[in-house]
């Protein structure tokens, strides 16, 4: 057997990577331990949210699948942060876990260049630091020109609750026991991370009358672009909000040492943004209550996920904890909460293309790189896949910049700073989030998707059209000058905005915070698509801030454009602090911009590095 690309793992990263291979006409093999768990969501039943939702849009713009798939399988859609500015608006969907998996499998199986194999990979075939394929558990060898590892939590996965410790992946799946040892032998630094998941409750055993209803939005939303489908907004499945009680807190405090975490059974480092409920109660002891969301997992079975209640307590304590919650006094636990530990590699051993520095042609994506979250995984799978095919085709890799995409922020953080606890994307990680909006992901990234061959002509034409319309409308707004006559001013007063005293363009008028673009319908033809109007509205209203952000980004870009040659020997540069030298040699940044972001590298080190580069260039 001989493939162009082998993808190891069928989670959210693996699916994207495999689809990129297949859709760019590369003979691709996806190896998973269980076909039925492809695109599984072992934890929360939702996709999107702040920053993450924008990543899903970016995936769509680049030609990935996650957006399409959730659009086919959501239970409810909600636009978050609508009361805030446009930069932070983010879409989140509650997913039907069953439909999500089924739809993704269908998509994968419809790709003619893609083969799915149920097997366990235990080792890699490597020749002179170049990947040649994989070795299965049964000893079979499969060769390929590139391999993408997307092993999730399966690398030496260990499930924990109380003092119980079981070698297992999620859903009692078999973990991969030897692959991480073999990676270690190749020189990868292996770290142990931990995450956790809350209990699942039988829906019929919950008294929802004690909970607060959390419905979906009453307008339609889609993650994918130019989606012309419709759905009945009234048929969305709601979530519910409840709070922990003093009794809950007491139970947890009384039994703290029985949890895996506080009992000392956990080795891995857990995520800060997703602490277990016992962590929350210890760390924020003055808080009287914590919010919990009750979220449906699917319409095909009755599990309710308690968001905010992840724990590693033994089962008997979990029973008590759950029963202390309002409406859950008689709740039946269908699945107990657990913590899971797994191996990950040091992400600073990756190039910005997600190719490993040690083995040419080997890529890693998702939790193996220390991230957590379906969206984080999917976008890395997509980028690893894209870069693998670009390399196979002899083309330069695609590295998104921090001012281009949240994906760029995420990967740059991974390869430059590394992770200590599982990494989650947050809007606060992005310096230029006003540029990285939900609404403009297609304008930012679809050209890349097109050039790689993942965006269809039909879709691309829509983008071209959108651009044309945006430009035309902006031009029209600038050219339409409003006289300060009575009739106009009467209208302005009628829409609650001050009169004009001099001739004013509609463009300038739109800058007023109280004016919506649709108010200008009286003067100018606004028969454009909603997303064109939205784009123009945002660009005009926030022009000042966008210009500022662009300026900042340009400043940064200047540093990004100072490239550091591959073969640089940091030992040769005098006057760089020892720690900085070590960090630079380890991470081997590709640009001054990247070097600046390495912790432990100080401005003075950067100065010396730049002086050195300048001198080298002059030689």
């Amino acid at each position: 057997m001989n493939y162009d690309i082998i993808v190891v793992g069928g989670g959210h990263a693996g699916c994207e990577a495999a689809l990129v291979g297949a859709r760019t006409n590369h003979n691709t093999l996806l190896i998973t331990s269980n076909k039925n768990n492809i695109a599984d969501m072992p934890c929360n039943p939702s996709i999107g949210g702040p920053a993450k939702g924008i990543v899903v849009r970016e995936i769509a713009a680049l030609g990935g699948e996650m957006a399409n798939n959730i659009d086919k399988s959501f239970l409810q859609m909600k636009m978050l942060n609508t009361k805030k500015g446009p930069a932070v608006r983010a879409l989140r969907a509650q997913a039907d876990k069953i439909t999500y998996k089924k739809e993704m499998l269908k998509t994968l199986e419809s790709e003619k260049n893609l083969t799915i194999l149920e097997a366990m990979v235990e080792d890699l075939i490597i020749d002179n630091d170049v990947i040649k394929g994989v070795i299965l558990e049964n000893g079979d060898k499969i060769s390929s020109k590139a391999v993408v590892l997307t092993t999730g939590t399966y690398l030496k996965g260990t499930v924990l609750y109380g003092s119980t410790k079981i070698s297992s992946g999620p859903h009692d799946e078999r973990p991969s026991k030897f692959l991480s040892d073999n990676l270690k032998k190749l020189g990868f630094r292996i770290k142990r991370l931990k995450t956790g998941t809350p209990p699942r409750i039988e829906k019929s055993s919950i008294d929802f009358s004690k909970a607060e209803l959390q419905p979906g939005d009453d307008v339609e939303h889609f993650f994918s672009f130019y989606n012309e489908n419709h759905y009945d907004v009234t048929k969305q499945i709601p979530c519910y909000l409840i709070y922990t009680t003093p009794v809950t807190h007491q139970i947890i405090r009384d039994n703290l040492d029985k949890s895996s975490m506080y009992g000392g059974y956990v080795e891995g480092v857990g995520p800060r943004y997703c602490p277990s409920i016992e962590d929350k109660i210890v760390r924020f002891s003055d808080k009287e209550r914590h919010q919990l969301f009750l979220e449906p997992e699917s319409i095909f079975y009755d599990d309710i996920y308690i968001q905010g209640f992840s724990t590693s307590m033994p089962h008997d304590i979990q029973e008590k904890m759950v029963h202390s919650l309002p409406g859950l006094e008689n709740a039946v636990i269908n699945k107990y909460a657990y913590a899971i530990e797994y191996d990950a590699i040091d992400s600073t051993q990756l190039k910005p293309t997600l190719e490993t520095k040690i083995i040419s042609g080997l890529y890693t994506a998702g939790q193996i790189n220390g991230t957590s979250g379906y969206e984080e995984a999917a976008c890395q799978g997509l980028m690893a896949g894209i870069n693998a095919v670009l390399k196979l085709d002899g083309k330069e890799g695609l590295v998104l910049k921090r001012n281009e995409a949240y994906i760029g922020v995420l990967i740059d953080d991974l390869v430059t700073k590394g992770v200590i606890d599982p990494y989650r994307l947050l809007t606060s990680r992005a310096e230029y989030r006003l540029l990285l909006r939900h609404d403009n992901a297609d304008l930012r990234l679809m050209d890349y998707g097109k050039s790689i061959g993942l965006i269809s002509n039909t879709q691309y034409n829509k983008l071209t059209n959108k651009r044309k319309n945006i430009n035309k409308l902006i031009k029209d707004l600038k050219e339409y000058l409003l006289n300060p006559n009575n009739e106009n001013n009467q209208y302005l007063e009628s829409i609650n905005t001050p009169k004009i005293v001099v001739t004013t363009s509609l463009y300038d008028l739109l800058k007023r915070p109280e004016i919506n673009i649709k108010d200008l319908n009286k003067f100018i033809d606004l028969s454009y698509d909603e997303d064109v109007l939205e784009q123009v509205n945002i660009n005009v209203k926030y022009e000042g801030y966008i210009v500022k952000a662009n300026k900042e980004a340009e400043k940064m870009a200047a540093y990004e454009n100072i490239k550091i040659p591959d073969n640089i020997d940091y030992e040769q540069i005098h006057n760089i602090a020892k720690e900085a030298k070590q960090k630079l040699s380890e991470i081997r940044p590709t640009s001054i911009g990247q070097a600046m972001r390495i912790s432990g590298v100080n401005p003075s080190d950067i100065t010396m590095l730049m002086v050195y580069l300048k001198r080298k260039n002059n030689e």
């Binding site: 500015g85 800060r272 003075s604």
Partner: protein, 449 residues
């Protein structure tokens, strides 16, 4: 940075002792070659050694030499300091010998630069040391030293912490929009928080301008018609006060006629193109030029004569006077003919015949520049142009924010500007970008799924 550098690191002629500092890998070898006493190449680090500087057996001076080996030195390199007896000739001679034996003359601030590049000190410290070196008066020395102690850094750090908490609160609203227990930060909250920082920042900027006076001194232009006694007044200042005669290149861009320190504050009397010349400056260089000179000065002294009526030229000049100016009515020992009843500017009556004849002028200046306050001595200001300009940037961004709040700009856009203030203040401290904000987010709030 492989060579060895040297310079006289004390003000020439001011103190009883002058120090010639040498830094670099050959510094001990070089010092040893002109030193008669112990073998400096074998003495312990951080020792002071008695001996003589010799030039071919001719004894130049009796000295103490400090030998400090890398890395525990100011520059992290081998450093030798020759403490010799002041006096320009001797000190220069020793410097010359050091140069002859292989050192290179240091550029201004190069020791500090090396300390900075070798990771010995951070940016704020580097700048303070630079100021300390440049410090010409006791006041400015105090200011520089205070800054080194981190007092300033602490104030800025407090601002940043305040902003960081605000930022984290806003970010948490964005990243966790459904957490109802977390206080939602509105533009009004921001307005309150920011107003506080704005006021304090403005204080710092204002005080820093004072700090600048302490550090770089007051630039004084003396103008007036010919023969009103401009140079006599200048000479009075220089005679009565401790005149500073050094002229270390690069300390001032102006051609300084003379420097004097009054109560510890440095006065630079700048050349207004020919105070000393007998020619009429107004006639010679024209109104425009004198106006420019006046604008550049921190203080303008217009000299007129007590025993003459104001001439048209005098009145022309009076009309040109900037806000900070004093009309110096000279020759108050002669009969008063001058009529100043229509003049709104401060006037003082002096003469250059008596010993304390210009005291009224000195007192007026002290009052004008609030010497009493300057002398109180609790200096925690930003003391160089880069820092002051960053603080001003931060201040202006706050004004932008206030404008944005007026216009109902969404909080998350306002927040971008808050972040910029935080970064500007970080630049003052010379800190690198770090994950401080993320860390703050997770220590301040209880979040998670």
């Amino acid at each position: 940075m492989n060579d060895t550098i040297t310079a006289i690191s004390t003000s020439l002629g001011v103190g009883a002792i002058s120090i010639v500092r040498i830094s670099g890998k050959d510094s001990i070898k070089i010092a040893n070659s002109i030193f008669k006493g112990k073998d400096l190449t074998t003495v312990d680090s951080h020792t002071i050694n008695y001996g003589h500087i010799v030039d071919n057996n001719e004894i130049i001076d009796e000295i103490l030499v400090s030998v400090m080996k890398a890395p525990k030195t100011f520059t992290c390199e081998d450093v030798v300091e020759i403490n010799c007896h002041g006096g320009i000739a001797t000190t220069n001679k020793i410097l010359e010998l050091v140069l002859l034996n292989g050192a290179r003359l240091a550029e201004p601030g190069e020791f500090t630069k090396r300390a900075f590049l070798n990771g010995r000190i951070d940016l704020v410290e580097a700048e303070s040391v630079m100021d300390l070196i440049d410090a010409k008066t006791e006041q400015s020395r105090k200011l520089s030293i205070n800054q080194l102690s981190g007092k300033l850094s602490q104030i800025i750090k407090n601002f940043r912490q305040q902003l960081l908490e605000l930022l984290a609160s806003i970010e948490v609203n964005i990243d966790y929009p459904e957490y109802e227990d977390i206080e939602v930060i509105t533009n009004n909250n921001i307005k309150k928080e920011i107003a506080n920082i704005k006021n304090e920042l403005l204080n710092i900027i204002n005080e820093s301008e004072n700090g600048k006076i302490i550090k770089t001194g007051i630039k004084v232009a003396i103008i007036g018609r010919p023969n009103v006694g401009k140079s006599s007044i200048l000479n009075r200042f220089l005679d009565e006060e401790k005149a500073i005669v050094t002229d270390i290149a690069g300390t001032t861009r102006d051609i300084v006629e003379g420097q004097a320190s009054i109560d510890g504050i440095l006065f630079n009397f700048v050349d207004t193109a020919g105070i000393r010349e007998a020619h009429d400056i107004v006639e010679k260089i024209g109104i425009e030029k004198s106006k420019r000179e006046m604008d550049n000065a921190d203080l303008v002294l217009l000299v007129v004569n007590n025993n003459e009526k104001l001439s048209d030229e005098d009145i022309n000049l009076i009309n040109l006077l900037p806000k900070k100016s004093i009309i110096v009515v000279n020759k108050n020992d002669l009969k008063q003919e001058i009529d100043l009843s229509d003049i709104e500017h401060d006037c003082v009556f002096v003469n250059t015949v008596q010993f304390n004849g210009i005291d009224p002028l000195k007192n007026k200046i002290k009052e004008m520049f609030n010497f009493e306050q300057l002398n109180r001595g609790d200096f925690t200001y930003l003391s160089n142009a880069r820092q002051i300009s960053l603080a001003k940037d931060a201040y202006n961004i706050i004004k932008d924010i206030e404008l944005g709040i007026e216009e109902n700009v969404p909080t998350d856009l306002i927040e971008i500007d808050i972040k910029r203030i935080w970064e500007k203040l970080g630049e003052i401290l010379g800190e690198t970008y770090s994950d401080e904000l993320i860390d703050q987010l997770f220590t301040q709030f209880c979040l998670g799924k």
